[in-house]
């Protein structure tokens, strides 16, 4: 274990500070979306989209491997972005279909993305560290990545605010929202596409395998105590922020992989909240 002095020195390093900044941006973004994802009971969508993004990134790197001279390093991410948006539309269409259950629809896209990803990466000539895609590489985040994440966060949160009351109604009860004349299909696709975009910008932090945790845990933890939607909207980003900031800090202190530590921290907060709720309920009886 490293000393307090060396931790302080590490915290002053640019790469650690960039890691904290992008963590905060992604935490707020994922926490806000997680409210709609958890309450709409589509928590697995994050996994489906992350694996679709993995397939998209593999396709991007594969194409980059063929046309290496013409491609910038961002092209694979742009290709993955397009693929994940198309995937999110596909998943939502399948989930809304009465012919296939929601979890089966997600499973199909998840396996498809993973299979394409593994196959294409094995054929790709560009050297990629597959671990950085699967588990994230938050300590290698560049200033440009922070800027992109910030712009996407501002756009995503603005869209959510613009359609906030309709999104809340659709999240509360889709049938009742439809019965009041709201075009619920539009909001289902909107949440899914926004989640897909957030997945793409979040992969550098926690990677493909753990991203769905950030899209579930903040809201799941918050709703254990909140009595209103308003409280949930306030508490969920606080839980998300605490998860990533503490997770990155612990990863520095214990010198372990940040992605795994962020998710473990989130799970630990969730466990503590569940325990506290249980104690509170027992005290009331």
């Amino acid at each position: 274990m490293i000393t307090l002095e060396s931790i302080w020195t590490l915290l002053q390093a640019g790469f650690i500070q960039r890691a904290f900044i992008i963590s905060i941006i992604i935490a707020i973004l994922c926490s806000v979306l997680s409210i709609f994802i958890v309450l709409k009971r589509v928590s697995l969508i994050g996994d489906g989209l992350a694996h679709t993004a993995f397939g998209g990134l593999a396709l991007g790197y594969f194409i980059q491997g063929i046309f290496v001279a013409f491609f910038s390093q961002y092209v694979p991410w742009l290709i993955a972005g397009v693929i994940v948006v198309l995937g999110s539309i596909g998943i939502t269409k399948a989930m809304r279909s009465t012919k296939i259950s929601g979890d089966a629809a997600v499973a199909v896209f998840l396996q498809l993305g993973l299979a394409i990803g593994i196959t294409l990466l094995s054929l790709t000539r560009v050297g990629i560290r597959i671990e950085s895609l699967l588990f994230g590489s938050i300590l290698l985040v560049s200033f440009e990545q922070i800027l992109v994440a910030l712009v996407i966060a501002v756009i995503t949160i603005s869209i959510i605010l613009l359609f906030f009351k309709e999104l809340v109604y659709v999240t509360f009860d889709e049938t009742q929202a439809r019965a009041s004349g709201i075009r619920t299909w539009f909001y289902d696709y909107l949440i899914s596409v926004l989640a897909g975009i957030v997945v793409i910008v979040s992969i550098p932090i926690v990677g493909v395998l753990l991203i769905s945790a950030l899209l579930v845990l903040p809201a799941l933890t918050s709703i254990q105590f909140t009595k209103s939607f308003r409280q949930t909207v306030i508490l969920s980003p606080i839980v998300g922020l605490a998860t990533v900031v503490l997770g990155v800090l612990f990863s520095v202190v214990f010198d372990v992989a940040p992605g795994g530590m962020i998710v473990l921290t989130g799970l630990a907060i969730f466990a503590v909240v569940l325990l506290a709720k249980r104690i509170q309920e027992s005290a009331k009886k």
């Binding site: 309450l39 809340v168 049938t175 439809r178 019965a179 009041s180 004349g181």
Partner: protein, 251 residues
Amino acid sequence: MQPKPLVELQDVSVRYANGVLALDRITLDVNQKDLLALLGPNGAGKSTLLKVILGLVKPTSGIIKLFGSTDLAKNLKSVGYVPQSAQARDTNLPFSVFETVLLGRTRHAGLLHRMGTHDRKKVEEVLKMFGLYELKDRKIGQLSGGQTQRVFLAKAMVSEPKLLLLDEPTSGVDPASKHDFYGILERLNKESDIAVILSSHDISAITKLATRVLCINRSQFFCGLNEDFSATAELPKVYDHPVEVLEHDHP
């Protein structure tokens, strides 16, 4: 001039994708101030009929008009709906009573507009009217069945509807709460111009409230004024079973 019916159904049939005929040539008019009791056994198509009026289920054939127009979506703003499953909510759902009722104002606020002070005042008025004001900060999942039903009725009413559709609103609710619920409904129907379509198995109670009765079991068995309806004559045909209606002390 005779005012147009709020709801007009002409020979409406619904056949689901699996081939099941859910409704067979239903014809119905609902006018202002009508309180229509929708009766029939489980699986008779009562919920489907309400969903057809709301545009949630597309008919296979027939014509549906809401406030004189076949464009149902255009007029849904003036319809309040309490679904059958309204009570079966996740107890963890983080919505307060106030927030739940406020959802009823969503269409009134308009797309891209936030809910304003007027919407919040309207919610407070309705909460007071339904005796729910003291519970406004309570989580919806922590309410009793009867309280939850009142919240959903309040949510439907806050949208200032001209037509109220209630799908078995008192199923699973204790007798005292049912009594209160029917009392509120009777008051609403008498004191305002709201038309109500109420589906229920509580035949004795709702035929006391209703001005008109529609009996269906996929096809239409009876549609007419309450005073022309004889439960003992019509219901055995609809239920395909002997039916005895027991009188009890509802409003």
